[in-house]
Symmetry: D2
Subunit: 328 residues, 4 copies
């Protein structure tokens, strides 16, 4: 390793995601492996501006690989958007002799990191941690795999009761801007229809599809709806619409909500987080900055942080088609 | 066995509950054991009035002990409230040479059974299957134990994110008239406060409790709210109230909904259902009728069906006190 | 409260069980509620003899209600069987001004407590924490409900593969001296036969039963075997016996092992542990000693510690019969 | 679609894997979508030789996407290795007017398919279904993701008790020839060391590593061992070795066994199986044969069946290094 980084700070910011603790553990252990120090920054940018730091030894991160949430806590910060806020943060970093920062989070977190780097030329590496899987430069974000399993397990339960009573359920899942969770969990749960932000299915088609489903002898139906689905109706409005237009259906609504963010991370997310933590620390030690670590075709790759923020992920069109075929 | 019952019908009615299939399996196998026939009645009283019957052999109920929902489906019926409806049901039973009925369900189901028995002197035994645990004459109803585990697992996930962001969550659980789920799952989940239909805690006390909790250094809080909590505010109204009166809290809401009814039954519910099925069949064979099978002090006991319908279950006051102490 | 207890020690000893942490939390919080101090004793009697103590505030037990294992660790100790060992323990208790002890564990733990109390007249209350459910004076021990769910979930998985390949599985579960886990989890998992320490089924009957099962058209079978089953053969010997005597079966073996001791406690175990912790502390404050807290007919009751150690739990004969009927 | 395939047979063969049912469902629904018939072949090659066929409509595969095992059952067959056996199979296919076969399984299954195709020029497509993830031409096999989650959840439980008692556990996981499960689940479970078939770590290094771990203050350790680890000792022999050479350790052994094959498939496996089923049917309809469907860099790709059988998967060396760093 060629540069003189001696102490690395690590923080989590934005919405929490399962596997963030596995990433923190990996960063702390990789620092120990390379005999440099690791410092935990609490409460995201808030804690950064207040100097809320704590040293993280290899042992201090025992028994967290399997836990949800983030031991470093998270927060959203307006003050960090101001020059003064960032100045305070920079001073705390200097005072604590922290040479580089690893930011675990999503778009907003990385944007903060970019500005900070630009202003103070402070080395920064991002790790994508969000259940939404909406970050350019990585096939998977930490927490996404766990979240789709959580959704699928919840819908499996809902299907038991839907099927016992021959009901139609609209199930709202997370995804204000992207439909990855809805599309994958929808296919995984065997949903009748999947409404996502990327594509306007249209209410007519939904009605059509439900009619066909009824005719084919299906006794119950699940429609998975992303928060930001493009039809522009939430699950309660969809229920009203169907109540009115297809009175033969007994419609119910379920909003899965915040439980999608929690829970013990899946094996995939733990392994991904462990790999990303190593790559992040070692990239800093190689003198790199302003990159995000990602997994592309099962390899650890770096993407410019700017691209990670600006780029768009795309919905898997093949999977949309698979979903259609499955509801034959 | 002293009487001449040769063929027993079994049905599920009302809201479905995990373990109903284990009860159906037990009824079918116990019939086979005693060399009598078992007939499944589909879609509750609806199917009873339409003669929607199917023979259930010992092997036909293989591989259902662990499944949620009910293979016999369930439904609510208005027609069965009419004399004509019940007449039709009775004719189908006679035509199919069914000598007695086992009804798996709750209050409404048992009321239907009582009327039917009175009118036609038709032998009827009830098995309490409902997640609400609100049936007099049994310490536990089938499905209740599974439901409180489902709630606790969901809140464990919510707590991960609550704690990462220092938030207050109002979590709505099932229980329009009784607070068993809220109280037990609330204690099990380590909830800050538990709002139930049986007791008016009052908003002042809630605020008081949240203030104390904040002062004591707790970083997050979960308040479990039964659907029918006595304060009379739903979780969204509670959020509004706290938003206004305690702006220092970042409040979120989660409505667990129908997933509480589904899922693979817990070991307790499977064993309970298996025991109740045996007791129900053998009680009929002993010439008994108009009883509900229950578990009282870990023994199978019969309670007059009328009492089961009229009696009230009581909230465990000791547990309310335990809940208070736990939130010290 | 009438006596002068100011400081209570709490420890876990013997085999760990899910829910022990919920019990520790309850003891700590109940102490805080009554404004007395709570001290955690680490590593059971080992730590007691070494003065390995740490104060437990109400907040120090945050976020442990849902975790398996025991934060106080556990250990088995030979030295505590000596007079010298107990003397050392007593001195540490006096030096730390601890006035009473709450022991969470099983038979061995309570025996240690009894001897200690006799020698030094030191107030002691026991809480039954063991997955075996083999303690007299309580219908349920902490950890048992979780363990039977763990077993049932594992066997559900095994049945998937058993049924796909038409195999016979012998599944060994914990229970050297008692068959509670085997019997309840066996019924819950829909096992073909259940071999327990309390009753010698005989190999002939097992073969008989498997033949009948084969003839009846069952495609796969699970036989649950407690470690100490009375036939006196372990699962590998049983496999050999069947391989030789019933070559038509494709036999496999699975030993579930220590995973039965771990995992997040079920709602039942969390609530039970919370209730027992309150009762234990308040019993001490009422001047009681030498008792074990138990749940009898859903109420918290005290049993003389001596009885808890000497008494025997009995297998539920009704459940044995249910098991027989279910395998018709 | 350009060819004249009217009826497709589908079977599962070899060891069962979670997600096989999702693949069967996908094949049946894709056939229905393209208005061709789908026929289920029961018990793998055994059923193929006996003509044990059943038509699979789109509705007949309702409610199986979330179930473990295989509704078509599986079996291993020696007779299919003979010319006569395959002749019989071919006749049954002709008699039932089946035009092509989809084989869901692993190496052995595909080898059978290759020989069959060569002999009778019968169109064949393979879908990789095995928990081992050891098939060339696909990054993931169906069932693998579920299996590593099952292992990680089991080890999470074991760690609870390991950590409460400061013990060392050797945990045996599946993998006779490949270490994918051991390596990924080992990293996911935070194992101390991981012993795999691909690399001889050597006993000295294991002892070294355990000493370092003890010195660093770790209170418990998990060593994950693949069935076919290259050191050549099974978990019981490893325990004996450590008992003798490191008496300071309290060693236990756990063999996870067949539960790794069962359970409800993860979302990933359900989606993967759904995609592969579509691709398999449509490849046949495009006139292709002798290929295996795989997922490569998140796209559905075909690989010559011969390559799938002959090629070797490689262990991820980067992950081995991550594992080393994590145990710092």
């Amino acid at each position: 390793m060629i540069n003189n980084i001696k102490r690395i700070g690590v923080m989590t910011s934005g919405g929490d995601a399962p596997g963030m603790n596995a990433a923190i553990r990996s960063v702390a252990r990789t620092c120990a492996f390379h005999k440099i120090e690791c410092v935990g920054v609490y409460r995201g940018f808030e804690g950064l501006m207040e100097g809320d730091f704590k040293s993280l030894s290899a042992r201090s991160v025992n028994h967290i690989i399997h836990t949800g949430g983030t031991i470093l806590k998270s927060a959203r910060s307006n003050e960090f958007r101001t020059k003064e806020g960032r100045q305070k943060a920079h001073e705390h970093l200097l005072n604590n002799e922290i040479d580089a920062l690893i930011l675990i989070g999503g778009d907003g977190t990385f944007t903060g990191g970019l500005v900070f780097n630009e202003e103070f030329n402070f080395p920064v590496i991002g790790i994508p941690g969000t259940i939404d899987n909406d970050i350019y430069g990585t096939n998977f974000t930490i927490g996404y795999d766990t979240a789709i399993n959580t959704v699928v397990e919840a819908i499996d339960k809902i299907r038991d009761t839907a099927s016992s009573h021959k009901r139609l359920f609209f199930v709202e899942v997370m995804g204000r801007d992207v439909g990855h969770i809805a599309l994958n969990a929808g296919v995984g749960a065997g949903a009748e229809e999947i409404l996502i932000p990327e594509e306007d299915l249209g209410l007519d088609r939904l009605v059509e599809s439900l009619k066909r489903s009824k005719a084919s002898g299906k006794s119950s139906s699940i429609v998975v709806v992303a928060e930001g689905d493009k039809i522009g109706k939430n699950v309660f409005e969809l229920k009203d619409y169907i109540d009115e237009n297809m009175p033969e259906y007994d419609v119910r609504v379920s909003v899965l909500g915040h439980m999608q963010r929690g829970g013990s991370p899946s094996c995939f997310d733990r392994v991904l987080a462990s790999r990303m933590g190593v790559k992040a620390v070692e990239s800093l030690l190689e003198g790199k900055s302003n990159y995000m670590v990602g997994i592309l075709n099962n390899k650890m790759e770096l993407t410019a942080l700017e691209m990670a923020v600006k780029g768009k992920t795309e919905i898997n069109l093949e999977l949309l088609r698979v979903s259609d075929i499955m509801t034959t």
